[in-house]
């Protein structure tokens, strides 16, 4: 690959494995950074080289910009792939890479910054004629918040300006709850993002989360790869994703994709990105939510329906090439679903469950894909997020993809740590899910209650 012969993979877990495999396919050497807790990890075994960057705590390892850059320079790497999470949306890393002559496999620092500030992004997008959810400017005290909430209408969401990825949001159902929630939200925003700026947004109860995968090159071209439906969430964390969305008609799809491309083209966006929208199912309208300036966890469902390897495309555009395909050649074929298999106990309020994995028998078969860093005997460390694997199935249509997913879930054996597998089996058998009658609140408001009634027993 032009200009890239060795890549520093500045991440861990399944995404590090995913990136290392793409490197192998491209004939690029990979160096993976590991904390002390990840020395024996699968990425460390698969990469051409692993370098230890620090102790287990992310603040002292995976979140250290200077250490990552020193590791890249010290190992003779010419590029850094940040994966998702950790430093992926830290403009400082993209910036330092530029000054040190390293290729950052991701967007320009300035674009990360622009889209990272949610209020700035809203303004920019509104100026392009894309609807945004009725909301306020920054509110600095309670009176302003109350006024804004009255204007946009209850229920409202209090959102941290520096938030994102489902973090830093709180619902207020009634005016009398505003004071308490406002104080909580400010304190939380400050501690989580170091920034207590908050704004108010109208809350749409019957909404679907629809996002469009885009990728831009250095020449101002932007390609879209259709939408993903990520409406199945718990506490704003996605659990199941699929593509295409069962709620999106061809006309609506065109409108979503056109809006996403318009936004990306306007800022001259480079590399992979996702434009997120909320689809109000009662009003039949959609609104811009935010843009994520990274490869996303759920990118495989898009790969399965488009046949395009997004990580390889990331490397192509980062090296100054254009895409391997043109928009006219991108076809949506079949249906794909992804279940996030986490080390969490669905029967104990999804409490994280680290520990030693005594058995790990993932399913296989036609149209079944597993993205994972696990192996039998692996110790799931308690320092990082709980994602163990992404189980993805593809089918000619949605029914086939669901059937295949259920079969794969029944075939998936993990011992030693609790996982979300039983909960996913429950979802895949639920009539509302089968007919696509869901919204972003469905898991918490409806499914979890049913699951608790059943205690999930027959799904273990």
């Amino acid at each position: 690959m032009k200009g890239i012969s060795r890549v520093l993979v500045a991440n861990r877990g399944e995404i590090a494995v995913r990136i290392i495999r793409a490197c192998r396919e491209l004939g690029i050497e990979s160096v993976v950074t590991v904390s002390e807790a990840d020395r024996e990890s699968l990425p460390a075994k698969l990469a051409d080289r692993a370098v230890c960057i620090g102790p287990p705590a992310p603040m002292q390892s995976y979140l250290k910009v200077d250490t990552m850059v020193a590791a890249a320079l010290g190992t003779g790497s010419d590029a850094i792939h940040p994966g998702y999470g950790f430093l992926a949306e830290q403009p400082q890393l993209a910036e330092v890479c530029a000054t040190q002559g390293l290729i950052f496999v991701g967007p320009k620092a300035d674009d990360i910054r622009k889209m990272g500030d949610k209020l700035h992004a809203r303004k920019l997008v509104e100026g392009l004629g894309v609807s945004i959810i009725p909301g306020s400017e920054l509110v600095s005290h309670l009176d302003e918040a109350a006024e804004a909430a009255e204007r946009v209408g209850y229920p409202v969401l209090l959102k941290a300006a520096a938030g994102g990825g489902g973090k830093g949001m709180k619902i207020v159902e009634h005016p009398e709850d505003l004071r308490t929630v406002f104080d909580e939200a400010s304190v939380e925003a400050l501690s989580a993002f170091g920034d207590d700026r908050i704004y108010v947004e109208h809350y749409i109860p019957n909404a679907r989360h629809i996002e469009v995968q885009i990728i831009g090159d250095r020449f101002g071209n932007v390609l879209h790869l259709f939408e993903r439906d990520c409406s199945l969430q718990r506490r704003y964390q996605k659990m199941v994703e699929e593509a295409p969305s069962p709620a999106v008609s061809p006309q609506l799809r065109e409108a979503f994709c056109e809006a996403a491309v318009r936004i990306a083209k306007h800022i001259g966006y480079e590399n992979a990105g996702t434009v997120e929208f909320l689809l109000d199912q009662d009003q039949g309208r959609f609104y811009f939510l935010e843009m994520n300036t990274r490869i996303q966890v759920e990118h495989p469902v898009t790969e399965m329906i488009s046949g395009i390897d997004l990580v390889i495309e990331q490397f192509r555009v980062a090296s100054g090439d254009s895409f391997s395909v043109s928009q006219e050649d991108v076809r949506l074929t079949g249906h794909a679903i992804e279940c996030r298999i986490n080390a969490e106990s669905p029967n104990a309020d999804f409490a994280p469950c680290p520990g030693k994995m005594t058995a790990w028998k993932p399913p296989a078969g036609e149209g079944v894909r597993i993205d994972s860093h696990c192996y039998p005997g692996y110790f799931v460390p308690p320092y990082y997020d709980s994602l163990l694997a992404k189980l993805i199935t593809w089918g000619r249509d949605r029914d086939q993809a669901i059937g295949s997913m259920l079969a794969a879930l029944m075939d998936f054996t993990v011992s030693g740590v609790d996982t979300t597998i039983p909960f996913h089996r429950f979802i895949m058998k639920n009539p509302d899910y089968l007919t696509g009658q869901v919204n972003t609140g469905w898991i918490e408001n409806s499914l979890l209650k049913e699951y608790e009634k059943n205690e999930g027993n027959q799904f273990r």
Partner: protein
Amino acid sequence: MEDAFMEGIDQDDVIQILRMLEESTFDELHLEMGGLTLVASKSSKKASPVEGLKSDDHESTESGAAVEPTVQASEEKPNTPQPSDLDERGFTAIKAPMLGTFYSSPKPGAPPFVAVGRRVAADDSVCIIEVMKLFNTVKAGIRGRIAKICAENGQMVEYQQTLFLVEDLDEAAETGEEENDS
């Protein structure tokens, strides 16, 4: 996720956590959840703080909010050599407290901090590790005689990579002074 974890911890949880520590490769565990602090150690040895960091912001960032973890790691891996650092020939290793570029002398052209055969005291500087123009002086952390220099000038060293092997000079005196002895 975090909320769920914070809600409460009972005796079974503690036993499970201790069992996990037992099976893990770590020696110590520091766990803080809400008002609860759990500190557990496999052996009776106590970790001593990192020494020899001159201009690094390492220590001050430790209390910063980590984005990902629900459980904080054992924060300090001692730079000061521990009995476990003894290799088969009976040498003690001085290990890199961070990833960076190893420099054997204070500045280019200057004589190296130490050479093979040189006696060092715990407080003596032995090398510099540079991380993006930030120069961190590394102290020996142990007294003895430098038996081998394991890193190359100007090359990158990893976190916890062995930089020097140190030969124990006066075992009796050492043991007498050893604060970490159990």
